[in-house]
Structures are given as structure tokens and as C-alpha cells.
């Protein structure tokens, strides 16, 4: 047995352990070199299943390669490298170790050849991402981490139920395209969709990510939702249900981001929005659509991490994370500002950025499938993305009013990390062929035609106009928005309290009745068995008195005669 069963995920796992063990420059070296080794290992995985292990009666396939899997693993490894570069100077060692183990889980999912392996890595991600959330260190982060863990462990249980059902039903643990037709496939779909932040539980994402540290949110933004997209591509391509779910996520993300005041929560909602585009694409399910979903996931990880990095630098330098408290930072943070704007343009799919060359593939797939409404909603959503993330984020953080804050610009490592990803955003926008060549299906698509560019420029620039015209309507307020998490943060607590009160009063009622019963029994006992033995013989109750022997003999005689009588009758 050679290295064919050695998943590239193990490199990051070993690195995570090493991060705990070594210190100083050695740790920095591990943080920066391990992702590169992982990247190398990823490209050593050939296509197809790389050997099996017998476990119980199942053939486990720990490593299976394919262009799709390698592409997702590649962007994850790149993310770990740039994320590590961004955070190694300020992140705690345990946060880095947890982030690396979390990324290892994501890469393990990429290469999982069967459902059991997939599930193991899936749970690994849930555990270590929870630790990354907890590293936020505030009471809010602690509570959000617990909610996050419950949600993901619940999702894991649902997924596990589905996998068990499929294994029992078909006897196969292969990862292959299925449709949600029966209970177990539905359970698998729901388990995956929980991780994709699909409705009705999208709220976990915007709840947990903004509570982590500025560095933690960079890692969190990349892995969980995108592995869910990969799992959907592998298991549910062409599931029509996903189109509707995805469109809902797209609109939900925009509306809630518009309401939001917390900088990172705006970005978190736009993660839901962008993942919605990918989910729609998986639902369409054609080769063009799946290529689009894959390419968009690739581009999305880069620009979303870039946006979180730029927000992270602002929070790191100012300690503030509310739009209302920020503003005018472009004066002293030009690099962060420019990188933030590039990320914002990329997420809005502005021509010459990575968003344009990847998201337009999804729109094209909708056109090819003659899905007028899907196309129109996706187009409207593209305008909405420019509104809520493309302009709103940079405007409120870096321009707007002068908040008086004059923080220093990013430290060199954070700046370098942002420059790398900002360059990639533009590189993939100008030379999309680089990415197209790696996609799972052959690409026959020309992103840039002059008519299309003009259409998108009209669309986006006029959304920009709409932003500034409607600015009075978008005055930030120091508020949060209710979401479905109200049901488990408020309604469930209320129900619990009501149940507690009801049980409490029932308990009190039982206690009162028990006391009464005790008193009653005591009285009866006192009446017949009498007072304590110290009391005077005459005060004792009937059965406790001393009786003369004669009386007893009389009673016995009476009883015996009764017995004799009965016997002869």
C-alpha cells in the first residue's frame, strides 16, 4: 500500500497538530508551507477511486479524484494559504490549528469517494468550525458558537439518517447523482442544505460568522457553504427543487443585507445570496450550469474572503464593526479600501472581475434552459448584489461621513494577503480561460461580448444610481433584524419557560396534595395506632393501648368459636 489512500487532507491535519506543538517562526513556517504541500498533494491525485479499505461490510474509498473535486480542493488549499498569511501574526495558535483542521475537513470532503468518508469529514468540519467561532472570545461568540454547533450537529444527524437509509435501501455507499424521491434521499438533501445555509435555517450563518475574530471569519466564509455546494453538485445535479430554494436564498440575502448595520453581517448575508446563485445552478443541472456553479464557487471564495479580510482589517484597526460608527476610512487605509472595492466589484460581477466571468455562466445556463423567470430574478439579483455588497459595504465603511477615525492601514502580511486575492479577482476576470480550462466539463462560452458588457454596465451603474438616490431610505440604525433564528432564540426559550412554569405549578400542586395526604395518614395512624409510646396508656389509641390478658383470651375464644362454626356450616 503506497500513498494512494493518503488524502491531501492529512497534510493539513498534521499541520494543525504541529501548530499546537511548535512556536514562533517554526509555527509561521508550518502555517505557510503546509497549504502549499497540500496544493501539491491535491494535484497528485489522479482521476478515479484510489483504492478501497474494508470497514465492516463496506468498501470505504477515502480518496477519489476528479477535475471537479480537485478544483474545489485547490481553491480550499489556496484559501488556507492566503488565510494563514493574513492571520498568522494576530490569530491565536488554537484558532489557527482549528482553522487548519476545519480546512482539512473541507478538503477531505472534496476527495471523499463514499458517503461514510464524506460524513466523517463533514462532522470534522462542524466541530472545528465551531471552535473557530468560539475563538471570538466574547460571551456573544460563546452563545453563537453553541447555536452554530447545535445547528450543524443536527444537520449531521439528518445527513446520517439519510445515508443510513440509502445504504439500507440500495446497499451502496457510492457518491453518485440521485434525486430527492424518498425519505432517505430527502434527509441527505436537507442535511446538505443546512450547511448551505438554505431556508428556513439560513440564519445560522449571519448569526455565527460575525461573532468570530476578524481572522476567523475569513476562514469561516470559505469552507462550510462551498463544501455543501460541492456535495450538491456530486449528489443532486438537476434536482428541480434547488432552483426555487436557490432563488429564495438569492433574494433573502439581499433584503437582509440591506437591513443590516454590522459590517461583517452584511457580508455574511451576501454569502447566502451568492451560494443561492450556485444552488440555482445545481438545480438547473446542465453542464453549463454545473460549470457555472463550480466556477462561481471558485471565484466566490476568493472575493468573499477578500471582502472579509478588508472588513477584518478595519475591525482589527478600529475595534468597531457597525456601519454607523465607521466611515471616511479611505484617508488612512487606502490599500484596504482599494482591495475592498475590488472585492465588492467582483461580487457584483462587474466586467473585468472574476464575478462577471463566472456568474454570467449561471445566467447563460438559465437562458439555455429557457427559464425566463429564473433569468430575470438572477439578473435583478445581480443588480441587488451591487446595491447591498458592491456599493453599500465600501460606501459605509470607507466613505460616507467622516467618522473621525484615522486608523493605520493593514499590517504587511494582511495587506499582502489582500493583494494576492485582489489580483486573482482581476486575473480571473481578464483571463477567464485559466479557470475555464480546469472546469469539470468542456467550456464553450464566451463571457465578453460587447452587447452583454453594455447590458451589465447599464444594469449595474443604474443600480449604483439607485443606491445614491435612495440613500435617505437606507439610513443605518443600531438594530438587528429578526430572522428565523427568532424561533430558536426566543420562541423556543419562551416555550421552555412556559413549560417550566407549568411543570413548576404542577409540582407545587402535587407537593400540597402530598402534604395533605401525609397529614391525613398521620391522623389515621394516630387514631388507631396511637401516640408515641411515652404517652399515658389511657391517651393511646385503640390499637396502641395495653389491654388486659383476659380481654385478649376472650377475643381469641370468640374467633375460634366463629371458626368452628364456619367449619361446620
Amino acid at each position: 500500500m503506497g500513498f494512494e489512500l493518503f488524502s491531501p487532507a492529512f497534510v493539513l491535519l498534521i499541520a494543525a497538530v504541529l501548530i499546537c506543538l511548535v512556536k514562533g517562526h517554526a509555527r509561521t513556517a508550518v502555517v505557510l508551507i503546509a497549504p502549499l504541500i497540500t496544493l501539491w498533494a491535491i494535484w497528485q491525485v489522479p482521476d478515479g477511486v484510489q483504492g478501497t479499505i474494508k470497514f465492516l461490510s463496506y468498501n470505504i474509498e477515502p480518496v477519489e479524484g476528479s477535475p471537479l473535486r480537485r478544483l474545489f480542493a485547490t481553491i480550499f488549499a489556496m484559501m488556507v494559504f492566503v488565510g494563514g498569511l493574513y492571520s498568522f501574526r494576530i490569530a491565536r495558535w488554537y484558532e489557527l490549528a482549528a482553522a487548519f483542521a476545519y480546512a482539512a475537513g473541507a478538503i477531505g470532503v472534496c476527495f471523499a469517494g463514499d458517503l461514510i468518508t464524506l460524513f466523517l469529514y463533514w462532522e470534522m468540519m462542524a466541530i472545528f468550525s465551531t471552535i473557530v467561532v468560539w475563538c471570538g472570545g466574547t460571551p456573544g461568540a460563546k452563545a453563537a458558537g453553541i447555536r452554530y454547533a447545535i445547528m450543524h450537529l443536527l444537520g449531521g444527524v439528518v445527513l446520517k439518517v439519510g445515508i443510513e437509509g440509502v445504504v439500507v435501501g440500495t446497499g451502496s455507499i457510492q457518491i453518485q447523482p440521485i434525486l430527492a424521491t424518498d425519505f432517505s434521499t430527502w434527509m441527505i438533501l436537507i442535511g446538505i442544505l443546512i450547511n448551505a445555509a438554505a431556508p428556513p435555517v439560513s440564519a445560522w450563518l449571519a448569526d455565527a460568522y460575525p461573532e468570530s475574530t476578524p481572522t476567523g471569519s475569513v476562514f469561516l466564509s470559505a469552507f462550510t457553504t462551498k463544501t455543501a455546494v460541492l456535495a450538491l453538485i456530486l449528489l443532486f445535479p438537476g434536482e428541480p427543487m434547488l432552483i426555487g430554494i436557490g432563488l429564495f436564498m438569492v433574494v433573502y440575502g439581499i433584503i437582509f443585507a440591506l437591513l443590516e448595520n454590522d459590517v461583517r453581517r452584511i457580508l455574511a448575508y451576501s454569502v447566502v445570496n451568492q451560494v443561492g446563485f450556485m444552488v440555482v445552478a445545481v438545480g438547473i443541472g446542465t453542464e453549463m450550469a454545473l460549470n457555472g456553479a463550480t466556477a462561481h464557487a471558485f471565484a466566490h471564495i476568493i472575493y468573499k474572503a477578500l471582502l472579509f479580510m478588508s472588513a477584518g482589517v478595519v475591525i482589527y484597526r478600529t475595534g468597531k464593526n457597525k456601519c454607523m460608527e465607521l466611515g471616511g476610512l479611505f484617508r488612512t487605509m487606502p490599500l484596504t479600501c482599494i482591495c475592498g472595492i475590488i472585492g465588492a466589484l467582483a461580487i457584483s460581477s462587474f466586467p473585468l472581475t472574476s464575478g462577471f466571468t463566472t456568474k454570467s455562466m449561471i445566467s447563460q445556463a438559465a437562458v439555455d434552459g429557457n427559464l425566463v423567470w429564473v433569468y430575470m430574478i438572477l439578473t435583478a439579483a445581480s443588480a441587488g448584489v451591487f446595491l447591498h455588497a458592491g456599493i453599500k459595504f465600501p460606501w459605509f465603511v470607507f466613505f460616507q461621513k467622516d467618522s473621525g477615525l484615522r486608523p493605520k492601514d493593514a499590517p504587511w502580511n494582511m495587506g499582502l494577503a489582500m493583494v494576492i486575492f485582489a489580483s486573482l479577482c482581476i486575473l480571473l476576470g481578464v483571463f477567464p480561460e485559466v479557470l475555464y480550462a480546469l472546469l469539470p466539463y468542456p467550456v464553450d462560452y464566451e463571457p465578453y461580448s460587447i452587447g452583454k458588457v453594455l447590458f451589465y454596465l447599464q444594469l449595474l451603474l443604474f443600480s449604483g444610481l439607485a443606491f445614491f438616490v435612495l440613500l435617505p431610505l437606507m439610513k443605518r440604525t443600531m438594530t438587528i433584524s429578526l430572522d428565523t433564528d427568532w424561533f430558536w432564540r426566543r420562541a423556543a426559550v419562551l416555550l421552555f419557560k412556559i413549560a417550566e412554569r407549568a411543570l413548576g405549578s404542577i409540582g407545587k400542586l402535587i407537593a400540597v396534595q402530598r402534604t395533605r395526604l401525609q397529614n391525613l395518614l398521620h391522623q389515621i395512624v394516630v387514631r388507631y395506632l396511637g401516640q408515641p409510646h411515652t404517652a399515658d396508656s389511657q391517651e393511646r389509641a385503640v390499637f396502641a393501648r395495653s389491654w388486659p390478658v383476659g380481654t385478649t383470651a376472650l377475643w381469641i375464644a370468640a374467633l375460634l368459636s366463629a371458626y368452628v362454626l364456619m367449619y361446620y356450616l
Binding site: 451603474l461 435612495l470 431610505l473 438587528i480
Partner: protein, 104 residues
């Protein structure tokens, strides 16, 4: 404005006026460009003159209004989910939020 010079050049009122004028020209040109550049419509109506501009503006308008209306229902003070014992008096900036700490 005597403190005009002290402001960063980008936020001087004169610059902002120029930016508005410049952007208006760019926006007009974008629409007018459709007279010379053919925009291929996929479903017929999306090739109409200025469709992208109108569609972009109107969909943003609708989304902002929907968000505004939903905000009336969904917005809560920052400490809404906090434990009642460490609930502090809300900031003065909540002017347009109704007092609804316990609005369940």
C-alpha cells in the same frame, strides 16, 4: 467655505458636484450607447432600448422598499436577544425604533 481646503480633496463639495455631473454623463452615455451597440436579447423584451438601465434601477428600488417595509416589522434593538438582567437602556440613536424590547 473657508475650510474647503482642509478637507480631503475627495470629499470637498466641489469634487462631489463634479462626481455627480461626471456620473450623470457616464450613465447617459451608457444608455445612448445602445443606439450604436446591439444588445442581444434572449427573450425579446430584454433587448429593448435601455432595458438594462430601467430594470436595474427598478429592481433596486423594489428591493430597497421591500427591505424598508420588512424593517418596520423585523428590526429590533441590538440587545433584543440579551438576557433580561443585563439589558441596558437603549442608545439615543434608536429614534425610529419603537420601544419593543419585549415585543414578542
Amino acid at each position: 467655505m473657508n475650510d474647503e481646503k482642509q478637507l480631503h480633496w475627495l470629499v470637498r463639495p466641489s469634487t462631489i458636484r463634479k462626481l455627480w455631473i461626471g456620473s450623470s454623463i457616464v450613465l447617459t452615455l451608457m444608455v445612448l450607447a445602445q443606439t450604436v451597440i446591439y444588445v442581444k436579447g434572449y427573450f425579446g423584451f430584454d433587448a429593448w432600448f435601455g432595458f438594462g438601465a430601467v430594470f436595474g434601477f427598478v429592481s433596486c428600488l423594489i428591493m430597497v422598499l421591500v427591505a424598508k417595509l420588512l424593517g418596520l416589522v423585523l428590526k429590533r434593538p441590538m440587545d433584543y436577544y440579551d438576557e433580561p438582567q443585563d439589558k441596558q437602556s437603549p442608545d439615543a440613536s434608536h429614534d425610529n425604533i419603537k420601544e419593543s424590547n419585549n415585543g414578542v
